[in-house]
C-alpha cells in the first residue's frame, strides 16, 4: 500500500519540508503547528470562510480541507511566501499585491488578509490585471467582516502597479492625511500574531465541555476515572475549582455569569468543565462523564416576561433585567394633535458578530503574575474580571492583548481569559485555548433581538411633533450589556431629529438564548429600523419628499434632544444636504428603470443616524502616556485596543500633531496592562474621541514641557536629531535628552494625560446629558428587487458621515464600508438561530458579491469637545444602512417590512400579501 504521508516531501514557499505524521491531517493544522507558518489562519475548519487559503500547485484551496497525504511533491505557497514570488523584489520586501493592500487600506483587523492575499495571488499569476468582476469571483470564497470588500477589490485590481512608498509627512501634517496603517505591514506579511498564533513551549491545550441544551441541570460522573483511562489528559476543572468569585459581567452591578456553570447551564454552549490536554494529545472529549437533565427553556422574550414563566435567574422576577425610559413633554397628547401619524413595528433577530478569528489565547505564570495573551477589546476589564474569578488582586494579572481578528463588541466580555487563568494557576503550566467556530458562535454574545412598536406624528408642514417607542429586547441568559442597550436605545429613539414630545421605553428580558451583548450600535440599529422606516411612512402621509422631511426635522446647533441636552457641532443637516444631489439622481434612475414593465423594480431609500460616543452618563476615562527616552526615542503608550478600526494609527496621528513631531518618529508600546495606562475599552465609538483627546492632551503637555525647557513660546518647530531635541522658534535651542535624568518610567521627558467625557446622569425621566459628543450620518441605498423571487440586489450605497474632523480618510472610508456591509447583513440575511445556525454556511454574512459600490462623503462639522473637532464613527456607519435598504424596498415594491432579515421568502410573501405593486 502506498503511504505517501510518511516522510513525503512537500515544498512550502520554496523550502522542502518533510511531511511526517498523519496523512489525514488538515494541511492548515500542519502549517500552523508543525511548520510554524501561522500566517495561515483557521476561521472555521469547514471551508466556509477561506481564511486558510493557500496555493497548492497554482490553485487556491482551503488548507483546512486538504489532507497532508495528498501533498507529496506538491508546491505550497502561503502568505509568508508571497513576497518572494517570481517577479517580486523578494528579500523581505512586500510584494506589489501586499503593498497595494496597505496603500488601499484593504487590511483592517488582518485576520482574513492572508486568505485574501493568497486567493488574489493565485488569480494574479494568471491574470496580472484582472477586472473587478474577475477579482470578485476569484476572491468570493473568502469572508471578511471588517472591510466591506470594496478596498480589497481595489487593491487586487491595482496590484500590478509598482508601489511608491509613502512620503514621510512633516510635523503637523498628520491629522487629515491618508497615513497607511502603522501596524499594517505585519498584517500583509502574515507576521501579525493573533490569539491562536503564539503560545509558550509545552503549553497544555484546553477544551471546554459545553452544554448541548438551552437549559439543563448537570452532574459529573467519575472525572478522575475518565482522566485515568484517557491518555494525555493533564487535568480537569469544574466550578468547584474556581478560587474566587465565580461571577463575571461587563457591568459590575449586574455580574451574573459563571466562568464554569454551577449545576445548571442556562444557555446552549455554556462551559461546565475544562479539560487540559498534554501537548500533541488529541483533544477528544468523547464520553466525558457528565449527565444532563434538560429543563424547560425559554427562547421567546414575550413568553419569558409573561406571568408564571420560569425564571432564568432566581432574583429577577418576570425575567426582567432592566428597563430604560426617556420622557419629554406629553407624547400622547402631541400625537393626538398631530396632522399625520405613522405607526409601525419591527422585529429583529439575534445577529452574530462573525469575526473571522474565534476567541483564542494563551497564559502562563511569570513569578507571581498570571500573564494572559488573548484577543480582546477591553484589556483592563479582562484583568479585573479574571482577577475576581481567580481570587487574585488585579495587579497579579497581566493582560497582553494579541492582534484582534475582529471584535465588533463581542470581545468586550471575557470569554476564555478566566479559563486560561484557572488552568495555569492550578497546574502551574502554560496553557493555550482556541475556540472552535461552533464554540465561538454558541457561547459568546449576540446583537439583541428586538420587538419594537413606535408611533411618530407631524404637523401639516411635516414638522415632527412626537414619538412613542416601546422596545422589548431579548437579552438572553446573562446580563452582559443588556443594561446598556436598555439605556442607550430610548436616548437615541428619535433619531437625529427635533422631537418635542417623546415617550421612549426599552426593556431587556432574559431567555435561555445566547446573551445579548454589545454589537456595533448597542441596540440603536434596531431602534433606527423602527424610527427611520416610520419617517418614510410619515413623509408619504404628509406628501413630502422623504429626504426633505428629514431635512426639515434634522437637528441644528442649539436644538435640544429628547433628554434635554442642547447640541453643538451638529452635522446631520450637512450630511442630508450632501446627499441631496445623489438622491435626485437616484430617484431619476429608479424612475427610468421602472418605466419599463418588469419583475425587476428599482427602489431608493434614505436613513439617518446619530450616536453618542462613549459610556451613557457614566465615567469613561482614557489615559495616554508619551515619553522621550534619553536616547531620543519617542514612545507612545497606546492602550486603546486596535481591533482593526485603526486606533494605533489615528491616536498616533492626533498625538503627533499635538506634539509637533512627525508620525514617523513615534514608537508604539502596548496595549499591555503592565506597560500602558488604561485607555478604556474599544466600544461605543469612543477611541478616536476619548483616547484621542487624551493623546492630544499628552502631546500638548509634552510640547509645553519642551517649550519651557527651551524657554521658547508660540510657533516653534520640533525636530529629533538622535538624542537631541531641536526646538526652533525665533531662536534655535537644542535639548540634550541624554543629559536629563530619566524618570522611573525611563523617560527623560514624559507626559501622561487623562480625559473623561463631561456627561451628566439621566434623571427618572431620562433627562440629562448622557454623552459629550455625538456623531451623525445618513445613507442612500439604491437597489433592485426581483419581485418574482423576493431577492434584493444592491446597486449602490452613498454614505455621508459627519466625523467632525477626518483624522485619516482611508481609515474612515474603511469604517464606513465595513459598517455598511454589516448593515446589509442585518437587513437581508443574518439570523442567528440557537441550535441551528452555529456555523458560517448556515449563518450567512455578506460576501464579495453582496456589497455594492459605496461612495463615502466625509463631512467635517467640528465638535467643540473632540480632538481637533473629531467625533466617533465606528458604530454610526452601520445604523442607517438597514433602514435605508428597507425604505428602498418599500419604494420599489410598496411593501412595508416588519421583520428582518428580509430573506427572499419573506419578501416574496410580503409582496404576495400586498398584491401586485
Amino acid at each position: 500500500m502506498n503511504q505517501p504521508g510518511r516522510f513525503a516531501t512537500i515544498t512550502v514557499n520554496g523550502r522542502a519540508i518533510a511531511a511526517t505524521g498523519d496523512p489525514a491531517r488538515r494541511l492548515s493544522d500542519f502549517l500552523r503547528e508543525e511548520a510554524g507558518l501561522r500566517g495561515t489562519k483557521s476561521g472555521c475548519d469547514a471551508g466556509d470562510c477561506g481564511a486558510c487559503t493557500v496555493i497548492v500547485d497554482g490553485a487556491a484551496v482551503c488548507a483546512c480541507l486538504m489532507p497532508m497525504g495528498r501533498l507529496a511533491g506538491a508546491r505550497v505557497t502561503t502568505v509568508e511566501g508571497l513576497a518572494d514570488a517570481p517577479g517580486e523584489a523578494g528579500q523581505g520586501a512586500l510584494s506589489r499585491l501586499q503593498a497595494a493592500f496597505l496603500r488601499h487600506g484593504a487590511a483592517q483587523c488582518g485576520i482574513c488578509t492572508p486568505g485574501m492575499l493568497t486567493a488574489a495571488a493565485a488569480l494574479l499569476a494568471e491574470y496580472p490585471r484582472p477586472t473587478e468582476a474577475e477579482a470578485e469571483v476569484a476572491l468570493g470564497g473568502v469572508l471578511c467582516r471588517c472591510t466591506g470588500y470594496r478596498k480589497i477589490l481595489a487593491a487586487v485590481c491595482d496590484a500590478w502597479r509598482v508601489d511608491v512608498p509613502e512620503a514621510a509627512l512633516p510635523a503637523g501634517a498628520a491629522v487629515g492625511a491618508r497615513v497607511r496603517r502603522l501596524d499594517g505591514a505585519p498584517k500583509v506579511t502574515g507576521a501579525d500574531r493573533f490569539g491562536a498564533d503564539e503560545w509558550p513551549e509545552g503549553a497544555l491545550l484546553l477544551k471546554a465541555v459545553r452544554s448541548p441544551h438551552f437549559h439543563a441541570a448537570f452532574h459529573f460522573g467519575d472525572l478522575s476515572g475518565w482522566q485515568a483511562v484517557r491518555s494525555g489528559v493533564a487535568a480537569i476543572f469544574t466550578a468547584a475549582d474556581i478560587p474566587g468569585r465565580n461571577r463575571f459581567g461587563v457591568i459590575p452591578a449586574f455580574a451574573d455569569q459563571p466562568a464554569l456553570a454551577e449545576g445548571t447551564a442556562r444557555l446552549r454552549g455554556e462551559a461546565v468543565a475544562l479539560v487540559a490536554f498534554e501537548p500533541g494529545a488529541e483533544p477528544d472529549l468523547t464520553d466525558f462523564p457528565v449527565t444532563w437533565q434538560a429543563l424547560p427553556h425559554l427562547l421567546d422574550p414575550a413568553e419569558a416576561e409573561a406571568t408564571g414563566a420560569p425564571l432564568v435567574h432566581a432574583g429577577r422576577p418576570g425575567n426582567h433585567l432592566v428597563a430604560g425610559l426617556v420622557r419629554r413633554g406629553d407624547a400622547a397628547a402631541a400625537l393626538a394633535a398631530s396632522v399625520h401619524l405613522a405607526t409601525g413595528s419591527i422585529e429583529t433577530a439575534f445577529v452574530e458578530h462573525a469575526y473571522i478569528e474565534p476567541e483564542a489565547g494563551s497564559a502562563w505564570m511569570e513569578g507571581e503574575v498570571l500573564c494572559i495573551r488573548a484577543c480582546t477589546q477591553a484589556p483592563v476589564m479582562d484583568r479585573d474580571d479574571t482577577a475576581a474569578i481567580l481570587g487574585l488582586p488585579p495587579e497579579r494579572v497581566r493582560i497582553l492583548p494579541t492582534a484582534v481578528g475582529g471584535g465588533f463588541g463581542s470581545k468586550l466580555d471575557v470569554s476564555l481569559q478566566p479559563l486560561l487563568g484557572l488552568a495555569v494557576l492550578k497546574t502551574g503550566r502554560p496553557c493555550r485555548m482556541v475556540y472552535s467556530r461552533a464554540e465561538s458562535m454558541t457561547s459568546t454574545t449576540k446583537r439583541h433581538p428586538a420587538r419594537i412598536t413606535a408611533q411618530i406624528g407631524c404637523d401639516a408642514e411635516g414638522r415632527v411633533t412626537a414619538l412613542t417607542f416601546d422596545g422589548l429586547f431579548d437579552t438572553g441568559a446573562y446580563a452582559s450589556w443588556g443594561p446598556t442597550v436598555a439605556n442607550r436605545v430610548p436616548v437615541h429613539a428619535t433619531g437625529p431629529y427635533r422631537t418635542p414630545a417623546v415617550l421612549a421605553r426599552a426593556r431587556a428580558i432574559h431567555t435561555n438564548g445566547p446573551s445579548g451583548g454589545a454589537f456595533r450600535g448597542f441596540g440603536v440599529p434596531q431602534a433606527a429600523l423602527a424610527q427611520e422606516t416610520l419617517y418614510d411612512q410619515l413623509a408619504d402621509a404628509a406628501g413630502i419628499d422623504r429626504l426633505e422631511l428629514r431635512l426639515r426635522n434634522a437637528f441644528r446647533d442649539g436644538d435640544a434632544t429628547a433628554t434635554g441636552q442642547v447640541l453643538q457641532g451638529t452635522g446631520i443637516h450637512e450630511c442630508l444636504t450632501a446627499l441631496a444631489p445623489h438622491w435626485t439622481r437616484a430617484l431619476a434612475d429608479a424612475a427610468a428603470a421602472n418605466a419599463k414593465s418588469s419583475h425587476l423594480r428599482w427602489g431608493v431609500g434614505v436613513a439617518s443616524c446619530w450616536y453618542g460616543c462613549g459610556n451613557t452618563s457614566l465615567p469613561n476615562p482614557s489615559t495616554i502616556r508619551l515619553g522621550l527616552t534619553p536616547e531620543g526615542t519617542l514612545v507612545l503608550h497606546q492602550g486603546a485596543m486596535d481591533i482593526g478600526q485603526g486606533a494605533n494609527t489615528v491616536i498616533t496621528q492626533i498625538c503627533a500633531d499635538a506634539l509637533g513631531l512627525p508620525v514617523g518618529s513615534f514608537t508604539l508600546v502596548g496595549p499591555d496592562t503592565f506597560l500602558t495606562p488604561d485607555a478604556g475599552k474599544t466600544s461605543a465609538s469612543r477611541q478616536t474621541y476619548v483616547s484621542g483627546r487624551a493623546a492630544q492632551a499628552a502631546g500638548a503637555a509634552l510640547r509645553a514641557q519642551i517649550l519651557r525647557l527651551a524657554g521658547l513660546n508660540g510657533a516653534v518647530r520640533l525636530r529629533l536629531e538622535g538624542a537631541e531635541l531641536v526646538v526652533e522658534g525665533e531662536t534655535s535651542h537644542r535639548i540634550d535628552l541624554a543629559a536629563l535624568a530619566a524618570n522611573p518610567h525611563g523617560y527623560a521627558l514624559m507626559a501622561e494625560e487623562t480625559y473623561d467625557p463631561p456627561t451628566a446622569p439621566l434623571d427618572a425621566d431620562g433627562q440629562g446629558t448622557p454623552y459629550a459628543v455625538y456623531g451623525y450620518g445618513a445613507q442612500i441605498a439604491e437597489l433592485e428587487v426581483d419581485t418574482e423571487l423576493g431577492t434584493v440586489r444592491l446597486l449602490k450605497i452613498t454614505a455621508a458621515h459627519d466625523l467632525g474632523r477626518v483624522i485619516n480618510p482611508t481609515l474612515a472610508e474603511g469604517q464606513i464600508e465595513g459598517g455598511i456591509a454589516q448593515g446589509i447583513g442585518l437587513a437581508l440575511m443574518e439570523e442567528y438561530l440557537p441550535g441551528r445556525t452555529e456555523n458560517l454556511h448556515d449563518y450567512l454574512i455578506p460576501t464579495f458579491g453582496d456589497v455594492p459600490p459605496i461612495e463615502s462623503l466625509l463631512i467635517e462639522r467640528a465638535d467643540p469637545e473632540g480632538p481637533f473637532g473629531a467625533k466617533g464613527l465606528g458604530e454610526h456607519v452601520l445604523i442607517p444602512t438597514a433602514p435605508a435598504i428597507l425604505n428602498a424596498v418599500r419604494h420599489a415594491t410598496g411593501v412595508t417590512v416588519t421583520r428582518v432579515p428580509l430573506l427572499p421568502h419573506r419578501l416574496r410573501a410580503a409582496i404576495l400579501a400586498k398584491g401586485t405593486p
Partner: protein, 286 residues
C-alpha cells in the same frame, strides 16, 4: 506525532483501490470538501481511501457512446473544459459551487456520493440523462443517476463499490442547457432552490425538453409532466407552458431556515422559466 498509518491509502491503480474496498469498509476521500467540515478534529478518522491519485479517474473523455466524466474531476476542471452546449448547465453549476477554493478541490463524484438534497451537481446531470459507473472487485455496473441517489445522504453505492465515472449518453449531448441557482447571498451559498434545463429545438419548436429541480425534495427530481407539456411548443411559448401546478406536482419541498415550502415551489417555477429562456438559442427565440 503519530506516524503515517495504514489507515490512509492513496493508490494509483483502480484494482488496488477496489481490493482495499473489498477488504473492509473505508471512507472514500476525494475533494474533502464535505468530509472535513463534518468533523471538528484536525484529522479525518480512518480508514480512508484517497482516490485522487487513481489513474483515469479525473478528466472528461469523448467516446462514441457519449462523454465520460471521471469521478474525481474537480468543479474547476469541469468549468474550464471545452464541452458541448448541452453541458453548459453543468459548467454553470461548477462555477457556483462554494467559492473558487471549493471548486478547485471538490469533485463531481464526491458531490453525487454526498447526496445532499442541495447538491448543485445533480440537476445538471439529471437533464443529461447521466449514468453513474460503479466499480468493485465484483465488476462494473451502471445506474441511472436517478436510481443512484436514493435520499438525503443515501445512495445505491454498496460499501465495496467506488463511483468511478459519470457517463453522458451521446443522445443527451443535443441541445442547449442552463442552470439557475437561488440563494440568499452571492457566494458560498447553499441553494434555496436550483434548476437545470436542457432544450433541443428545431425550426422554432421544442423537440425535446428535460428539466430538473434541486433542493425542493429529498432528491433532485426530473419533471416529466412539464417536459411533456413543452414538447412541440413554439419557443416563444415555452416559459408560459411551465405551470406552477405541474411543477408542484413533481416536488415535495420542506420548509427550513432558507425558505418555506410554498416559496420553494413558486421559486422553482420561476427559475425554470428563466432557465428555459436562458437555454434557448437566441436566434431561435427571435
Amino acid at each position: 506525532m503519530t506516524e503515517a498509518t495504514s489507515d490512509y491509502a492513496r493508490p494509483t491503480a483502480l484494482p488496488e483501490a477496489l481490493a482495499l474496498l473489498a477488504a473492509g469498509p473505508l471512507t472514500v476521500l476525494a475533494g474533502g470538501t464535505d468530509l472535513y467540515p463534518a468533523t471538528q478534529a484536525q484529522r479525518l478518522a480512518g480508514p480512508l481511501l484517497d482516490i485522487t491519485a487513481l489513474e483515469g479517474l479525473a478528466g472528461v473523455t469523448v467516446g462514441p457512446e457519449g462523454l465520460r466524466i471521471g469521478a474525481a474531476t474537480t468543479w474547476t476542471e469541469l468549468a474550464e473544459t471545452d464541452l458541448p452546449p448541452a453541458l453548459a448547465a453543468l459548467q454553470q453549476a461548477a462555477r457556483l459551487v462554494g467559492g473558487r477554493q471549493i471548486q478547485n478541490a471538490g469533485t463531481i463524484g464526491g458531490n453525487l456520493c454526498n447526496a445532499s438534497p442541495a447538491a448543485d451537481g445533480v440537476p445538471p446531470l439529471l437533464v443529461l440523462g447521466a449514468e453513474v459507473e460503479l466499480a468493485s472487485v465484483r465488476g462494473v455496473r451502471r445506474l441511472p443517476l436517478a436510481e443512484f441517489v436514493l435520499g438525503v445522504r443515501k445512495t445505491a453505492r454498496t460499501p465495496d463499490e467506488l463511483l468511478t465515472a459519470v457517463h453522458i449518453p451521446a443522445a443527451a449531448l443535443a441541445g442547449t442547457s442552463a442552470f439557475v441557482k437561488l440563494g440568499a447571498r452571492a457566494y458560498l451559498v447553499i441553494s434555496i432552490a436550483m434548476v437545470a434545463v436542457r432544450i433541443v429545438a428545431e425550426r422554432g419548436r421544442v423537440v425535446e425538453a428535460v428539466l430538473a429541480v434541486g433542493a425542493c425534495s429529498a432528491v433532485a427530481r426530473r419533471l416529466p409532466q412539464v417536459e411533456a407539456a413543452l414538447v412541440g411548443a413554439p419557443l416563444s411559448e415555452v416559459a408560459t407552458r411551465i405551470t406552477a401546478a405541474e411543477v408542484g406536482a413533481a416536488l415535495s419541498p420542506i420548509a427550513d431556515i432558507r425558505g418555506t415550502a410554498d416559496y420553494r415551489l413558486e421559486a422553482a417555477c420561476v427559475l425554470l422559466r428563466r432557465a428555459v429562456a436562458q437555454a434557448l438559442p437566441v436566434e431561435e427565440v427571435a
